[in-house]
């Protein structure tokens, strides 16, 4: 059933069918026909540079069928700006569309263009929270959130609290951990070296590790903070020993603790202990990376590593 061909609003447009050389084999499927018709009208309006409001309906229709078609988004943005269209209305529509098409990323590029032009982040965090309730690790949404924080200086506008809520919900959400790092250390490198911030962040990571010792994210975070603050790894020696007691190799509760301890031992010139830890990793707690642990062991044997 042709939709545009029989619509008086489109009677002045001559659709431009796909030109791929061969006969058009699309006729078999109705939905395909609908898509193909809409695309032929899009080609026509783009060829004549038609910026009228009906193009918004047309692009919306195509986006609903195929949100990954980047050309459609680009043309839609052009028309919106040309018409001086109410961008709040555009955001309302985008909200529904983004929730329907979780994996799509053109939507986020478009949203960024619109919000940037609007010059206001009102309502954005609430919408982002809605997206995260469906997929709390969506990379596009996290990237967009970082852009938002930078663009509108939202560093102290509830971001840390929001991210803490998400880590509470899933302590293994590496994206949330990354956002925390971005908020605390990504802002201004000198202002955040203060002792209390460093201590607070170390404690935060430690608490998360206690909840789930075999979880990469907080261990990475802990190491990151130590490196950032130029503290030796032995600063958390006792803490790590709680998850990988040196005297009972059967009671290791975290391969990451063992890995960190190997570095502590190396730092403190306890070569024998370091080798023991690396052997345990290679044979028992992380055998799939045996070659990596072997490599670290070899480094210990080299005179430069001991110095």
């Amino acid at each position: 059933m042709p939709k545009y061909a029989e619509d008086p609003a489109w009677s002045d447009v001559e659709p431009l069918p796909q030109n791929d050389g061969g006969p058009n084999p699309l006729a078999a499927i109705a939905y395909t026909e609908e898509y193909s018709e809409a695309m032929s009208y899009l080609r026509a309006v783009m060829a004549s540079n038609d910026m009228s409001e009906r193009v918004l309906d047309l692009t919306e229709d195509i986006i609903n069928m195929n949100p990954a078609h980047y050309t459609v988004w680009l043309y839609r943005a052009k028309v919106l700006f040309n018409l001086n269209y109410d961008l709040r209305k555009e955001i309302d529509w985008l909200n529904d569309t983004a929730l329907k098409h979780q994996k799509n990323y053109q939507i986020w590029q478009h949203r960024q263009t619109i919000i940037n032009r609007l010059g206001s982040a009102d309502g954005e965090t609430a919408f982002i929270a809605k997206m995260f309730s469906k997929d709390p690790k969506n990379y596009h949404v996290w990237s967009y959130r970082q852009w938002l924080v930078r663009r509108f200086e939202l560093w102290d506008e509830g971001e840390i609290e929001a991210v803490e809520g998400m880590i509470k919900e899933d302590v293994r959400n590496n994206s949330a951990w990354n956002h925390r790092w971005f908020l605390v250390f990504g802002r201004d490198s000198s202002a955040h070296k203060e002792q209390d911030v460093i201590e607070r962040e170390l404690e935060y990571a430690k608490k998360a590790i206690v909840l789930a010792p075999q979880n990469q994210s907080p261990w990475n975070y802990l190491r990151g903070v130590l490196r950032y603050a130029e503290l030796p790894v032995s600063h958390v020696r006792d803490f790590a020993l709680g998850f990988a007691p040196a005297d009972s190799p059967d009671d290791v509760r975290s391969s990451y603790a063992l890995d960190l301890l190997a570095d502590v031992y190396e730092e403190q010139h306890q070569k024998e202990e370091a080798i023991k830890a690396l052997d345990l990793l290679a044979t028992k707690y992380d055998p799939i990376r045996a070659r990596y642990w072997e490599y670290k062991k070899n480094l210990l044997e080299q005179p430069t590593a001991a110095a």
């Binding site: 084999p25 195929n66 990379y139 590496n174 990504g186 990469q216 990376r289 990596y292």
Partner: protein, 324 residues
């Protein structure tokens, strides 16, 4: 090359011993050849905005499988040239807009077919036109590259730009040092790289950043042990690789993780045989093609990255792939 998925699913009947797993070369060749004959399926048209990249993936897979002539060269060339736009960029398909990603695919295909000279003959000054399109997308202050005139930036575009320009022999048109600086700014404290400064480490982005540094001759800037540690942590006990901590394994990371490890000489830090086992279990042994993980629909994207992962880990009978 179409990106329609299926018809089959990856997965081999349970109970097969690892030693019985093998690569179904002929099935995969037929599968790739058949992809462009499925114009009666809606998905064929819905994936049109990716077609040029799809073609590159299909061709690469065929090259690795040792059958580079399985798609007719002249038709491929005609199609690539029909995607060239007036601004010097390539679009994913005729009548679409130019974009960095498809421009890179276009150049990669021309280079793979050894057709860059032919391209210049058919399109006067073609090479330089394309190189200028790419160079114009570099941001002069930050060194980043945009994907199109709208200005979205991503390390994928930066890597693509350097890759295409080096194939064209025209990296001199851009500020490579500034680009390198930007890549450095995308490095994270865990050793990995994200899509922009501050963004979460992601194996795909690691590949683009390390690849860009390799092309720029600046791999000396990489902390190889730290990055290698992060990359090798991507391997899960089933042999498959994930793209970020606590995410599911996926065949496409066989390319991004493994080629990055190869570029920094740490390939041996993961278990190649376990990875091969995982990839082989994602094949559809009847209709060909590889899926992201066992039980899912196959597609050309995961097919090429699965085969590339096998090639990088020296699976017998495959052409060796260049990690960059």
């Amino acid at each position: 090359m179409s990106l329609v998925s299926g018809p089959g699913r990856g997965g081999i009947t349970e109970g097969q011993l690892p030693s019985e797993l093998r690569l179904y070369v002929d099935k995969h060749v037929t599968y790739i050849q058949s992809l462009d004959k499925r114009k009666d399926e809606l998905e064929y048209w819905l994936t049109e905005h990716l077609r040029l990249s799809g073609l590159y993936w299909g061709l690469t897979a065929l090259h690795l499988l040792g059958q580079p002539d399985a798609l007719p060269r002249s038709e491929v060339l005609d199609f690539v040239i029909s995607c060239l736009q007036d601004d010097g960029g390539f679009a994913a398909a005729p009548q679409h807009d130019s974009h960095m990603l498809y421009t890179v695919s276009g150049v990669q295909i021309l280079a793979m077919l050894d057709a860059l000279d032919e391209f210049d003959e058919r399109v006067s000054g073609g090479r330089e036109k394309v190189a200028r399109f790419i160079a114009n997308l570099q941001h002069p202050k930050t060194g980043t590259f945009a994907g199109d005139i709208w200005g979205e930036t991503d390390t994928r575009f930066l890597y693509g730009a350097l890759n295409a320009l080096s194939l064209l022999g025209m990296t001199n048109l851009v500020d490579v040092d500034k680009a390198v600086e930007h890549v450095q700014a995308c490095a994270n404290s865990d050793g990995g790289y994200g899509t922009s400064p501050g963004a979460e480490s992601h194996a795909g982005q690691v590949f683009t950043c390390v690849g860009a540094l390799a092309i720029a001759g600046r791999l000396d800037l990489v902390d190889r042990d730290k990055l290698g540690g992060w990359l090798s942590e991507r391997q899960l006990s089933n042999g498959g690789l994930n793209g970020r901590p606590e995410k599911l394994e996926d065949v496409c990371y066989s390319w991004w993780v493994v080629s990055s490890l190869a570029m920094i000489d740490r390939l041996h830090w993961i278990s190649g045989s376990k990875l091969q086992e995982f990839i082989l279990k994602c094949q559809d042994p009847d209709h060909g093609g590889i899926s992201d993980r066992p039980g899912d629909m196959v597609d050309v994207f995961h097919t090429v990255f699965g085969i590339a992962g096998l090639s990088l880990t020296k699976y017998p009978g495959l052409v060796e792939v260049d990690p960059i």
